[in-house]
Symmetry: C2
C-alpha cells in the first residue's frame, strides 16, 4: 500500500455539453474496512469509457445516473488486499466495478477472477467490456459473412479495433474510420484493415464510398453523427447495424435544427430491409462473457488480434483523460494506472 | 367472357404528393393471345395496397418503378381462360401478378394455385400478401411472448387486423390504432383487441399511454408519422419494431422542417436496446408462404381469425379507390371485383 488514505473522484456537478474539470472533485477519505463476507480491493487499473458520459447526466437511460457527490463508476482491475469472503484470497486479481478510487469494498457480487493474466489491464480492453462489446455485437447482431463489407468507426479504439480484426477473421472486407493519419496508418498497417478513412477529411463521405465499392453489409455503430450520415446511403439491402454507442452525440445539448430525418431513416430501413439494433453488452450478453474471454484469450495467444493501450498515470489524471476521450484524443484503449 | 377487348389502367404520369385521377389512364386493347408455354388469365379480383404508391414514383426503392404508360402492377385472383402450359388447366383459379387489367398472359412463373377456395378474394387479403406480412413480421421479427403488449396501427386494415388477432392468439395484450369510432369499435368488438385508439383524437398519445400501462413490447410499424411519435416514448427495453410500411409518409414530398430527430431515434434504440427491422414480405419470406397459407387457412376454418373486405366494382373504380386507401377511407381489405 502506498497510502493510508483512499483517494477518490466524485461527480461534483452535472455537465452541460462537454464535461469540464469542474464537474469532478478529488477527495481524500479513510480506507474502508471490509465487514464479514466482504473483500477490500486495491485498484490497479481504472477503465475510462465513453458510456461514463451518460452516467454523468440525469436523463433517463438504461442505467442509474451517478448521484452528485457519489464516486464515479468504472470497471477496474483490482487486487484483493484483505478478504473476509470465503471465495477470495488476499493477493488475487479480479475484474471489478471499483469506480474512480484507490480502494473499494465488495461483497463479491460481479467480481470475475483474472487468474495469472500476463497483462492484467487487458481485462479492461480487448479482454474486457470493450472487446466483448465489439465481438458480440459484430457476431450476434452483425452476423458477418465471408466476402461482405464491414465498416466500423473509432477504428483504432478499444471496441472498433476488435470489431475490425474479428471481421477480418470472418473473411470480410473491413473499412475503418478514425481521426487522423497516424491512427489510420495504425488501423491498416498494424490491425490489418483493408482501408481506413480519416473522419477529419472534408470528402470523408466520398472516400468511404470509394472504399466500399460493393456497399456496406454491416455497419457497427459506435459514433453516430456525420459518420452515420456518410454510411446510410451505402448500406446494402439486408444490412445489419449493431448499435452500441453514439459518442458524437453524448455532449449534444439539443437536436440540430433543419430537416427532421426521423422518417427518412425509417424509410431507408424499410426499403433496404435493414436491421438496426441497440445493445448494452452486459445486460444483453452477460452470461456469455466467460465464452468470449476464452475465445479472445486464444486469439491473443496466437497473435491473431492486436491491441493498443493508452495508459495515463494516477487517479488525478482521470478527469482530463476522460474529457479527451470524448474528443478522440486517446489512441487505443484508455486506462488509468493507480498502482502496480 | 364479357368482352372481346381487354381494359387496363396504365400509369399516365408520376404523382407529386397525393396521386390524382390524372396519374392513371384507362385503355382498351386487344385481349392478348397466349403462346406455347403460356396461359391467358382473366382477372376476377385485383388487390389495392399501399405499396403501389411507391411503384408510381421513380425514387430508388426495393422494386422497379412502374414505367410511364405501363400497366399498374398488382396482385390478382385470376381464372385460367386458356392454357398452353402443361401445369395449368382451363378454369383453374390462381393467385397472380395480373396487374390493373382484365386479361393478362403468364408463363406460369409465380402463379400459386388456389384450389377450391370458398372465397377466392381472401387470397389477396387475410390469406395473401397482407395477411402473410402481418403474420410473419409479428412472429419472426416481433417475437411476441404471452403477457407482452403489442401495438399496431391501421388496425382494421388488411395487415393490422391480422397482426392483432395473431398476437391475441399468442396471449398478448393488443392495442390497435385506427381512424374513427366505427373502425375502433370493430377492432375491439369484432376482432377482439383489448383497446383501440382513434388516431384523429387530439390526445391520441395520452390515450395510447393509458392503454399501455406496461409499455409497448412489440410495435408493428405500418404507418409512421404521428403514430410513431406517440409510440416511441412507450417502447420498453428490448422492444421489437418490425417495419413493413410507412403509409403516412408515402405522399410526402419533403422532410418536415424542425429538429432533426435522426440521432434521437438512434439514441432511443441504443438506450432501450430496441430492434427495428424493415422487411418486404415476399423478398424476405417468400418460401414460407405455403406454410403460412396452411396455418392461416386452419385458423379461418376454426373461426379464430376474422376479416373484413371492402369491395369495389369494376376496373374503372380502381384509381379513386386507391387514392382513398392512402387516406384511410377504406374499411377492411380493399379489392376491386372485375368479374365473377
Amino acid at each position: 500500500m502506498t497510502t493510508q488514505n483512499n483517494h477518490r473522484i466524485v461527480l461534483a456537478s452535472r455537465p452541460v455539453g462537454e464535461p469540464t474539470a469542474g464537474n469532478f472533485r478529488l477527495e481524500t477519505t479513510p480506507i474502508p474496512t471490509p465487514a464479514a463476507g466482504q473483500v477490500l480491493l486495491r485498484t490497479l487499473y481504472l477503465s475510462l469509457d465513453p458510456y461514463m458520459r451518460g452516467r454523468m447526466s440525469d436523463a433517463k437511460s438504461y442505467a442509474e445516473p451517478v448521484a452528485i457527490d457519489a464516486v464515479m463508476v468504472g470497471a477496474t482491475v483490482s487486487r484483493v488486499v484483505s478478504s473476509q469472503h470465503p471465495d477470495f484470497a488476499e493477493g488475487e486479481l479480479v475484474l471489478a466495478q471499483g469506480g474512480w478510487q484507490e480502494y473499494a469494498v465488495s461483497d463479491g457480487t460481479g467480481l470475475f477472477k483474472l487468474g495469472q493474466l500476463a497483462q492484467p489491464s487487458l481485462a479492461l480492453g480487448v479482454l474486457g467490456m470493450p472487446g466483448f462489446t465489439g465481438y458480440m455485437g459484430l457476431m450476434d447482431i452483425g452476423q458477418p459473412k465471408a466476402g461482405e463489407t464491414v465498416v466500423v468507426a473509432a477504428a483504432s479504439g478499444a471496441v472498433g479495433s476488435v470489431v475490425g480484426q474479428v471481421a477480418k477473421l470472418q473473411g470480410c472486407r473491413v473499412v475503418g474510420i478514425a481521426g487522423g493519419a497516424e491512427k489510420c496508418r495504425y488501423v491498416v498497417e498494424e490491425l490489418g484493415f483493408d482501408a481506413c478513412i480519416d473522419h477529419h477529411a472534408k470528402d470523408m463521405a466520398a472516400q468511404l464510398a470509394a472504399a466500399c465499392p460493393a456497399g456496406i453489409d454491416v455497419y457497427f455503430e459506435n459514433v453516430g453523427g456525420a459518420v452515420f450520415d456518410a454510411v446510410l446511403p451505402l448500406l446494402n439491402t439486408k444490412a445489419r447495424v449493431p448499435l452500441c454507442g453514439l459518442i458524437s452525440q453524448y455532449n449534444a445539448t439539443e437536436q440540430p435544427v433543419g430537416r427532421d430525418r426521423l422518417s427518412l431513416l425509417m424509410t431507408e430501413l424499410l426499403k433496404r430491409r435493414i436491421r438496426m439494433q441497440g445493445f448494452i453488452i452486459f445486460n444483453d450478453y452477460g452470461p456469455r462473457y466467460p465464452e468470449f474471454f476464452k475465445v479472445m484469450s486464444a486469439w491473443l495467444a496466437e497473435g491473431k488480434i492486436k491491441f493498443r493501450e493508452d495508459r495515463v498515470q494516477g487517479l488525478a489524471a482521470a478527469p482530463a483523460a476522460f474529457i479527451g476521450l470524448l474528443k478522440g484524443k486517446n489512441f487505443g484503449k484508455l486506462v488509468v494506472q493507480l498502482a502496480d
